[in-house]
Amino acid sequence: MGITLPLLILAIPLFMFLLLGIAGVKMSHKLAGWLGCLGMGTTLVLAYTVALTYYFCPEFTAETGERIQTIVFNQTWLAFTQNLVISLGFLLDPISALMLIVITTISFLVHLYSLGYMEGEKGFQRYYAFLSLFSFSMLGLVVATNIFQMYIFWELVGASSYLLIGFYYTKHSAVAASKKAFIVTRFADLGFLIGILVLSYYSQTFDFLKLTTDSQWVLASTQGATFMGASVLTWALVLIFTGGMGKSAMMPLHIWLPDAMEGPTPVSALIHAATMVVAGVFLVARMFPVYLLEESATMIVAVVGAVTAFYAAMVACTQIDIKRVLAFSTISQIAFMMVSLGVASNGNGDVCHHGLGYMASMFHMFTHAMFKALLFLGAGALIHAVHSNDYTAMGGLSRYMPVTRWTFLIGCLAIAGIPPFSGFFSKDEILSAAYAWSPFMGVWMTIVAAMTAFYMFRLYFLIFRWDEPDYGHHTPHDPPLPMMIPLVFLAAVSCVAGFIPFGHFVTWNRMPYDIHLDPWIACSSVAVAICAICLAAYMYRTKNPLPEKMKNAMPVLWDWCHHRFYWDELYMFITHKIIFNGVCRPLAWFDRHIIDGTMDSFAAVTNKLSRVIAPLQSGQVQMYVFVYIIGALLLGGITVLCLI
């Protein structure tokens, strides 16, 4: 494959960013919007060309059937040492090709959708510029040939996410949310960075191919190296995973994602549902062969994923803001993917169940991107219609917004895992992998799947059924065409995506693999999902006091769930009370009063001394003489004493 197309895939969004960023102010909204769409459209076409060529062109398949990892180009960017070199390149392999498709698709749809959604907003051009920047960064991230390139784009997506969350910069909450998102992920990135440093010290390379193909050999020097009881490799991998946790909003570092919903809804769809937040999953997948080496690291991935999935699902059941529900659902679903990756390892340096987990994770990443984007865009349409994020302002909307309603329903069914929608297939694979790893994990994840179905349909019913609030003279209606097209398209994809023979494209060892449904697991999961949907329907189909009763029955649980288990408050306490008031302020005080005070006190002491010895110069000539003679005598006398 020539380097032109891949290069263009990266170059066009970057160019669009610069163009819209610098010249955008002078453009009309329409022009900027269409330019953005055009750019992204071109990228979409190019990306599809590249990805499909990769999947279907035999030159990328070895005789064994293994898909070949190809570095299309790799340009040295910064050479730290002979071995440690940051290159900017383009690595084409199954998962990057997959991500190319996902990113460009969703990004293009969001571009299109935003034409309607963002119409008339101040800073429309800026919005498109940032979207392009994000697309560029995300594409750069997934095609990274080395871990440092990934880190670079990792930071860039963080920054574009910051800019987009804070798009409504006049709103305090948006500014705060963007700041929070950036800092929390920054903190995680610190771990990522140190992880990279540790790993690269031992491996003496950043290169993914070197790291993943001969992991054993490259990392041989870590053998036996331990730090505080754990092996160095574990430390490195866990630290790198910390970076992934930050971006993918895993449990202790998830707090930024719900707040990130302050950004425009299409942005949430693109960044905080479909693409950026799965970067953590992508990172672990990318490093998967290395993770295989270390049992405890995959264990941690799995456990963190499982806990997060459950936690997020619980919280999602109690949220009022529909975007928050979706956000927690995203967290939960990404956790599914993490779990899936974690359970792909059998703990002995080999994969478990033919590496089903890995495939399932990628599959779920793909399907989730589609249906979650659909849900977010649907939510966007709703918000666009009623100008509120809370479901309390909605209800009975199925009458007014039929298209939205049906597409939303498809999304809900997909996420709930109802066949034949796409979510069913991918989730089922994950559950299979989890059962294969440990039955407990399987059951746990099934419960989470049931909760997923419940909260999604709770949301659905609350929006489209329940009781109709007073919309006044401003009746809601379906969105305009640019917003409609993406909804319908994504709904269609969600219906059919499950039938893609995903195992033929993406597996851990890049060998084709046939998916087979385990009927027991499939049936059980569908059964619990349907039960959960029924429960949701029972509780929320029409306005009734049942939810209120439930809430009052378990006030503590509800409270904790509603307040997201007080994680935000905890963080607030740590950052404001401990770091700010406990460290920064005392340090600043210390600096001003102790350090600076010392410096000033030199001056003060000098001044004081000068005042103290002033009487020496009394103006009395007899005193002068007295000092003189005493001085001379002392001078001589002390010398005499010293000599003796």
Binding site: Q622, M623, F626, I629, I630, L633, G636, G637, V640
Partner: protein, 170 residues
């Protein structure tokens, strides 16, 4: 072995020096101080004579007693009323003076006493005659004092000019 006479003379002279020095700086009446100074200077001259430096003794009497002291007396009469006594010393100032002079006496006295060759008696030596002195003062060679002699003339001239310019009314 010195004669008894010279020992007696030494005793008188040294007592005079000590007593009148002390009196000169402690008396309240300024004119008396000048008089005591005169006695001290005379006693010094006597010491010079004792040590066979007659010329020096003569110079001492002529210049000091005859010149400087007269100057003092004139100055005293010019600046203060006769019989006027200065105010008593403050004890603080007196303490300072005592400290300084006792310290000086102690340290230097110790140094002098510690030096054993100061306990030599005076060796016999020829009395320098006037011709010797005169030659030395105008000689340019080793131990000749022509240069200081000329230089001090400049100094004296300068002091005259300085004295005039300072004392002149305008």
């Amino acid at each position: 072995m010195d004669s008894v006479g010279s020992i007696i003379l030494y005793t008188i002279v040294s007592l005079t020096i000590v007593i009148f020095s002390v009196l000169a700086v402690t008396t309240r009446k300024i004119l008396r101080a000048a008089t005591y100074l005169l006695f001290t200077l005379f006693a010094t001259a006597v010491v010079y004579f004792m040590l066979d430096y007659q010329f020096l003794g003569a110079v001492q009497i002529a210049v000091y007693a005859g010149g400087i002291l007269v100057l003092f007396v004139f100055a005293i009469l010019l600046t203060s009323h006769p019989g006027h006594s200065s105010e008593p010393l403050t004890s603080k100032r007196r303490a300072l003076g005592l400290i300084a002079s006792v310290l000086m006496l102690g340290v230097t006295g110790y140094s002098l006493l510690a030096r054993c060759n100061f306990f030599n008696a005076a060796p016999e030596a020829a009395n320098p005659d006037m011709q010797q002195i005169g030659t030395a003062i105008l000689s340019t060679g080793d131990n000749g004092y022509l240069l200081p002699f000329e230089a001090i003339s400049v100094l004296l001239l300068a002091c005259i000019i300085g004295g005039i310019v300072v004392a002149r009314k305008r």
